[in-house]
């Protein structure tokens, strides 16, 4: 994986278009740097949900934050609604952020524990002086009701009086109150129990339709991402491996890393044999990423070419894009893996 390239970018009415995004963090004063995100490109059409999956440290959260310019990426363009966010000044960026909202993994720590829930949800309206006081109240009540929180109780209670699932609903309400067009969800259901997770996922789907939202859904759980996304991008060590429609990606993964990820998921069905597409070891350090394809150190199909030359994203048909020299299918010389 580990590919660059923009073959997968579409023409047309993209709400968000990210090109060659690079985010690096210095490692102390060593002169070294963490290559968190190394030149990725993707686009999100209006009304679409893009899923970004990958393991810890692959740069998926950094990508989400890079879009928000938190922190500003080292290079690359983030074009939102025709405006390059990386070129905006402070106050223009603040204004632009009202249209892009984030929801985080830990709902309890993302709410101020000392304030009343209703005030937390109302605060963005206060800051931006949106409407009269009565209009603000009406807006807050509506949004709270839409996420399934009783506005009366929200006015009287603090976050600790709500469960984790309810706190996540409150976070969602806060993100919706300014009427954003893009919501970036960073592992929004990872901290929740499965029964509550299903409630929140259904809620996100409903709100997406009701509020006309576009979503970026970042998560490590492939089944969750598949369920909610239209298109999925797989990341590994700061690079994109594969981009395809959700159903197609899962039906016929072309990248060997995607295949390994899918095979690793424990399936709640004992009659299905445990898959043996295991890979050994763990991802290498993003401080000194491998040359060529970043996955070549663990890839069952790696060749000399993979060690030296970085694969470019290319179309293998049906809107399915892969950055691999020897994809499982759709390549010039398909490689069958026998192990």
């Amino acid at each position: 994986m580990a590919g660059t390239g923009k073959a997968h970018l579409r023409s047309g009415d993209a709400l968000l278009r990210v090109e060659d995004l690079v985010v690096e963090f210095p490692v102390g004063r060593t002169g070294l740097k963490v290559n968190a995100v190394s030149g990725i490109s993707f686009d999100v059409m209006r009304g679409e949900t893009l899923g970004i999956v990958g393991e810890s440290g692959c740069g998926k959260s950094t990508t989400g934050r890079g879009i928000m310019q938190l922190p500003s990426p080292n290079s690359g363009a983030v074009v939102f609604n025709g405006q390059d966010l990386s070129q905006l000044t402070g106050s223009d960026m603040r204004e632009a952020r009202t249209k892009i909202q984030m929801i985080f993994q830990d709902p309890i720590s993302s709410l101020n524990p000392r304030r009343k829930v209703r005030d937390i949800v109302k605060e963005p309206l206060d800051i931006w002086k949106r409407g009269t006081s009565a209009e603000q109240d009406a807006r807050v009540d509506k949004v709270l009701e839409d996420v399934g929180i009783d506005p009366q109780r929200a006015a009287e209670s603090q976050p600790h009086q709500f469960s984790g699932g309810q706190c996540q609903r409150i976070s969602i309400a806060r993100s919706l109150v300014l009427d954003p067009s893009l919501i970036i969800c960073d592992e929004p259901v990872s901290a929740l129990d499965v029964s509550v997770q299903a409630q929140v996922l259904n809620l996100l789907e409903d709100l997406k339709a009701a509020y006309g939202l576009t979503m970026i859904f970042i998560a490590h759980d492939l089944a969750v991402v598949k369920n909610i996304s239209d298109r999925v991008a797989v990341m590994y060590l700061g690079k994109l491996c594969e981009v395809a429609t959700s159903d197609d990606l899962y039906r016929r993964p072309a990248h060997h890393y995607t295949k390994v990820l899918l095979d690793s998921i424990p399936v709640p069905d004992p009659s299905r044999p445990v898959a043996h597409g295991r890979i050994e070891g763990e991802p290498p350090s993003p401080v000194l990423p491998p040359t060529g394809c970043r996955f070549h150190t663990r890839c069952p199909a790696a060749s000399d070419r993979c060690r030296n030359e970085e694969p470019q994203m290319r179309d293998v048909g049906d809107n399915h894009f892969v950055a691999c020299h020897h994809p499982a299918w759709g390549g010039d010389a398909p490689v069958s893996i026998t192990r």
Binding site: D193, N227, S246
Partner: protein, 339 residues
């Protein structure tokens, strides 16, 4: 009947300012040598407290315990820590969810593995360190000699969990309690750790209790599954039998609420409405009744006992199990109402 581990009518209640929390409330099961029991449940179902009760790792103050836990024919419930020391490590060992906070950050890996060998088995230090190296090889940590002299922060999360497993295995326990051993890990690493646990269990003829919230994890790695809800076992069956024939509506609802890889994206998830019961004042009757799609009057007043499902080892606690006429009728009626 097995005399390896017999847990009979065990309860663990905690005194709190709000009243007694009935965390584990009358649990009975047996475990044979060499077998794996999966305990599945959501947060607050009592699964972790049950495993800690068996291990004898509970605070003494404010804890009310009852029932019997017989290990190899001997009663171990309520033993003082000084008496449990003969059992911890040599007979029973436990691994926890968070490998970072379970390891001593100031002690080298080698010494942490050697410590139980020195204390429990009176092994000389050099011999203990040599054994530690062998254990690191067993849990497939590369460059084991070098690792002996490293500190936990120098290892990745997956490697730390391998070290935890090595420590747990050090004194050759017959029973391994694993409390969410892979929840903090990435899927590819999770698959590796689960394979490792299976292999070590088979090599050592160990029994294992695998506590998890993930039905996918237990499906592939256990012989038998106990589903917990509100401090009680609500269904218990051999793994294959349970997935073929789920009788308790909670078990079925739990499985239904998980997004499945083989369903198309945007499939509406079946949710379990409401939240788990408050264990200070649990509902009378069946504890799942307030959330159950098929609950009848009887369910709210009379608690269903664990009764046999007909097939060997399959028990469930429900008046109107999945597939029964009353259940089917209730589900159909509900489906009509929502249309």
């Amino acid at each position: 009947m097995s005399d390896f581990l017999e847990v009979t009518d065990v309860f663990t209640h905690f005194e709190t300012p709000r009243g007694q929390v009935r965390a584990v409330d009358g649990v009975t099961f047996t475990l044979e040598r060499g077998k794996t029991l999966g305990i599945v449940g959501e947060s607050g179902s009592g699964k972790t407290i049950l495993s800690r009760t068996i291990m004898g790792l509970l605070p003494t103050r404010g804890t009310v315990r009852g029932g019997t836990i017989r290990y190899k024919g001997e009663e171990i419930q309520g033993r003082a820590p000084s008496e449990m020391r003969d059992i911890w490590g040599k007979q029973m060992a436990m691994i926890f969810q968070d490998p970072m906070s379970s390891l001593n950050p100031l002690m080298k890996i080698g010494m942490q593995i050697a410590e139980p060998l020195i204390h429990n088995l009176d092994m000389p230090k050099d011999q203990a360190l040599a054994t530690a190296k062998r254990l690191l090889d067993d849990v497939r940590i590369p460059e084991s000699v070098k690792r002996l002299n490293q500190y936990p922060h120098e290892l990745s999360g997956g490697m730390r969990q391998r070290v935890m497993i090595a420590i747990a295995l050090a004194c050759g326990p017959n029973l391994l309690l694993a409390d969410e051993p892979t929840t903090a890990l990435d899927v590819t690493v999770q698959a590796q750790i689960l394979d490792l646990l299976r292999e070590q269990r088979q090599d050592r003829n160990m029994s294992m209790i695998l506590v998890t919230h993930d039905l996918g994890v237990v499906a592939g790695h256990t012989d038998e599954i106990a589903v917990m809800y509100g401090g009680k076992i609500v269904e218990k069956a051999p793994t294959d039998g349970l997935f073929k024939n789920m009788l308790m509506p909670y078990t079925a609802a739990l499985l239904e609420s998980i997004p499945k890889m083989n369903r198309p994206s945007h499939t509406r998830l079946t949710t379990i409405p409401g939240r788990p019961p408050d264990l200070v004042s649990p509902p009378a009757g069946c504890r799942f009744a307030p959330r159950c799609p098929a609950a009848q009057e009887r369910c709210h007043s009379e608690e269903p006992p664990l009764s046999s499902a007909g097939s060997p080892g399959h028990v469930y606690a429900c008046w109107y199990p999945v597939g029964s006429p009353v259940y089917r009728e209730a589900i159909e009626r509900r489906a009509k109402e929502t249309v």
